[in-house]
């Protein structure tokens, strides 16, 4: 045991508390602003304590959105975000787990070629091929659809690699035993591999849900119909440069609502979140 100086513990607590305050302050201020009269926000007289308009503002945001710049009701945008996040997370996991299963548990022609085809895409984020990808989606007639919002983001080298890594640790004896018992590949997948992968799937789901919920550039390109706005992108449309026209109280309530689901997932599923974070960065 290394010596502990009392002062050093005190300093550690002080620095950590300061860190938490810096990290939390922007969100606290947003929360406070969402409960104040619009005039108090615009005049800069709202102070640092909560106001009494919270319920009204959140109600307005959810069911009608901003008024001066007409926006989609936030509830609808959250619905779009939820669809997008769920389809991306579940879709990525589904197609990655079956392709990793094929690569690990079978021998077939061009196996390694296919594997490398997937692997190389690890290096190509959407941001480096913005317009050509947009054009493909447009040519397929998928603009302003959920399919266009989600399918192009579903291919994932990371998840495939992760499952491959995990499948390689399943002992050969287990496969042999299953084969002796007469289990075919699909039965082995359903009864053995899938149950064993549950923790990995859950950890990956947490990370991918956040990834899907927080997409910005992709909805910006694919949706022009404001009814398809996701909340993270839609909030951008609510803010205009001449701030007199921005309904800041609604924007602040919307900001809080946009953060709520992913932050909730991280805090509640902390262990899975940390596991997912470490796994996907290997």
């Amino acid at each position: 045991m290394v010596e502990q100086r009392p002062l050093s513990k005190f300093v550690a607590h002080a620095i950590l508390v300061a860190g938490i305050v810096i990290v939390a302050f922007p969100v606290y201020l947003t929360l406070i602003a969402s409960t104040h009269e619009p005039a108090d926000i615009v005049n800069g007289t709202m102070g640092l304590l909560p106001g009494h308009m919270g319920v009204t503002h959140y109600f307005d945001a959810l069911f009608s959105g901003t008024k001066q710049i007409k926006s989609t009701p936030v509830l609808q945008m959250m619905g779009n975000s939820l669809v997008m996040a769920l389809v991306i997370a579940i879709g990525k996991i589904a197609i990655s787990i079956i392709s990793a299963y094929a690569v690990v548990f079978f021998r077939f022609p061009f196996r390694m070629f296919f594997f490398w085809t997937i692997f190389v895409t690890l290096m190509l984020p959407v941001e480096v091929r913005i317009y050509p990808t947009y054009k493909v989606v447009a040519d397929l007639g998928l603009l302003n659809t959920y399919a266009g919002l989600t399918i192009p983001l579903i291919a994932s080298a990371t998840a495939t690699l992760l499952f491959r890594q995990f499948f390689l640790t399943i002992p050969d004896e287990l496969v042999e035993a299953a084969q002796i018992d007469g289990a075919g590949p699909m039965k082995f997948f359903r009864d053995i591999v899938l149950p064993l992968s549950l923790t990995n799937i859950a950890a990956l789901f947490v990370i991918l849900f956040i990834y899907g919920w927080n997409q910005y550039l992709w909805p910006l390109l694919i949706t022009t119909d404001s009814g398809m706005d996701t909340i993270v992108y839609g909030i951008r449309r609510m803010i205009v440069t001449s701030d007199a026209n921005t309904d800041w109280h609604i924007v602040m309530a919307t900001t809080m609502l946009a953060m709520l689901p992913p932050v909730f997932v991280v805090v509640v599923m902390q262990r899975l979140f940390v596991k997912g974070l470490v796994d996907t960065e290997k």
Binding site: K9, A155, V175, Y216, T255
Partner: protein, 292 residues
């Protein structure tokens, strides 16, 4: 490599097909289109297209706007990496001391990971919005003419703060994991040899943490290059006067408003080369870590 596998060819091909189809349609085809179109020039009406070899690239490297975007990206990445890595390391070292409430501190510091970059931008914009921002008022109270809507340097500082804020939690978690994997016996041995806390940190802990730090540096640079698009678009739109136009934002702007698809695609190709180089560096490093 597995010794025991299942028989069959059709089934595995069917299982891998969805992934391959999506990858080809939405990765390889567009990426190859980007390369191909970077050699083309389209006239303003999109009626004729001409193959011009490397002209788009030549134009790009003569364009002061492109050097501006490179400079902005460099300043932005370095500032965000230094700021968020430094703060995260400080917090992780503190949280690693055996103090009460370490778990609580960890929870309270990790959640910003879940906040979208664009939302982080809105949070910071609201605090520093020149007329109504609470902190902007404080700055004005000090006699500083703070206005990120007009002053490029102020805008840059604002997006740097928002981007660094969002990245602290990620860096913190990895630094903390790195610190916790350092054997306590090493630190005890150093303590027995008479090294004080500061000396222990710089001669034992920090060198052992350097692989983590290097890994995080690459991740942070990739983050600033690509994921900060939302922050820039929500807070500054690349302005004022292109003072915060990063390379990715310029790809977006040139292709959309300018309609210069050839030039935009040439920029995409350069970015692709950059990402591939960064990923290669990272893989080389990971290989080392495995043998480490």
């Amino acid at each position: 490599m597995r010794k025991v596998v299942f028989k069959g060819t059709l089934l595995p091909l069917l299982l891998i097909a969805p992934q391959i189809v999506i990858t080809v349609v939405f990765f390889y085809w567009p990426a190859s289109q980007a390369v191909w179109q970077s050699f083309l020039i389209q006239d303003a009406f999109g009626t004729t297209t001409e193959f011009v070899w490397l002209e788009n690239y030549q134009v790009l490297f003569k364009d002061p706007g492109y050097y501006n975007a490179m400079g902005v990206t460099a300043v932005f990445s370095i500032a965000v990496a230094v700021l968020s890595l430094g703060l995260a390391l400080l917090l992780a070292v503190m949280a690693d001391k055996q103090i009460k409430g370490a778990g609580f501190y960890k929870t309270m510091l990790m959640w910003p990971y879940a906040v979208a970059p664009a939302i982080a931008g809105v949070l910071w914009l609201f605090m520093f919005q020149p007329s109504l921002g609470v902190l902007a008022q404080v700055l004005r109270g000090w006699g500083l003419d703070w206005n990120p809507l007009l002053n490029g340097r102020h805008a840059m500082i604002l997006v740097i703060m928002a981007a660094a804020w969002k990245q602290i939690s990620y860096n913190f978690l990895f630094f903390l994991a790195g610190l916790q994997s350092i054997p306590k016996s090493l630190i005890e041995a150093a303590a027995i040899d008479g090294a004080g806390p500061r000396r222990r940190f710089w001669t034992v802990i920090f060198p052992l943490l350097s692989p983590t730090a290097f890994f995080l540096l690459v991740v942070n640079i990739v983050y600033v290059f690509f994921d900060t698009f939302g922050i820039i678009d929500a807070v500054t739109h690349g302005g004022p006067a292109k003072a915060t136009e990063t390379m990715v934002y310029k790809v977006f702007q040139d292709g959309r408003l300018g309609g210069d698809l050839g030039g935009s695609n040439a920029q995409s190709v350069i970015l692709m080369a950059l990402v591939i180089a960064l990923t290669a560096i990272q893989f080389k490093y990971i290989e080392r870590r495995v043998h480490y």
